[in-house]
Symmetry: C3
Subunit: 138 residues, 3 copies
Amino acid sequence: MVFQQKIKISTLGRGTSNITRQVNELIQQSGITQGIVNIFVHHTSASLILCENADPTVRSDLEAFMEKITPDGDTLYRHIDEGPDDMSAHVRTVLTDSSLSIPLNHRQCLLGTWQGIYLWEHRTHPHNRSLTITVYGE
Amino acid sequence: MVFQQKIKISTLGRGTSNITRQVNELIQQSGITQGIVNIFVHHTSASLILCENADPTVRSDLEAFMEKITPDGDTLYRHIDEGPDDMSAHVRTVLTDSSLSIPLNHRQCLLGTWQGIYLWEHRTHPHNRSLTITVYGE
Amino acid sequence: MVFQQKIKISTLGRGTSNITRQVNELIQQSGITQGIVNIFVHHTSASLILCENADPTVRSDLEAFMEKITPDGDTLYRHIDEGPDDMSAHVRTVLTDSSLSIPLNHRQCLLGTWQGIYLWEHRTHPHNRSLTITVYGE
């Protein structure tokens, strides 16, 4: 059995959005009780991470880490058409995930206690992001 | 067909454990001959890598690389409640994988000659880590 | 339904090869209309990325980023048997992906407009690389 649905997430600019609830709702809609859910982002400047879901400073520290290793406006980059955050957004996407496969059972993601699924917007301005959620199993 | 099982791995603190044998044993238990095996870690400070399985200095060099780009005790980080290795462990997890999907055939992982599946503990102290192995196919 | 096939890609040394067309051709051969395609590289010094497919400077800037954080010949590394690009190739592989799972529908990958699937050769000399493509769904 395969269940597939596109969703849209509006971001507020650079930062993370917890999408765990949306993913679990789609798993319940799918009727699939055991298998895998795949989450896929259709963009090259926003990505997915599994991250600690309790202390928000984990996500701001991740942002600080990325700013350290791939700062906006780095003169290393030639691809700067869309501004100083253009190429650093592509690098951040490549270092994280465009696709996540998570086991599911009893109609929900088998996440650890401290794991949340986050969409990470890497551009400084707000964007509408498309994702495809595919649930498969039995 | 879907086969799913949780396993526990005890780590000795920061470092890698080769889990290829355990994954192949579960594939054989599953009875599935062709498809995909998904390995998933239920933690945000331990992760998975596919890595060269012959020379152990590859893994110690990877450790040295991580220590260079995200050293323990970096004053950049504010999330330090659990010690100097707390936030660097989260960063190392995000830069590597919480989830790996590997093709299988003839009841074993289709790995290259030099590829091994490693659980990478990023905390300095020993931990008990939970993983879910999901085998699907026919 | 599961369809699995090994393919070979000859690389010209360090750099990226767009393999989107090959992946879509195998999806069409598989007869599967909805599901997931998994692409897997059987090596530890070449990897996969989903990347902007329009401006080639995105890929050269990614190369420049990798050269900055893990330069060839870095004296940090002890695993240097195969030359100055040996260990940096392993690090670049671990920071990117050996395995990519992409949703498919209507017999093709559901990629965003600007997404291409790239094999990234991290060794400076040309290599023959093996990949396994697994298509599953219905």
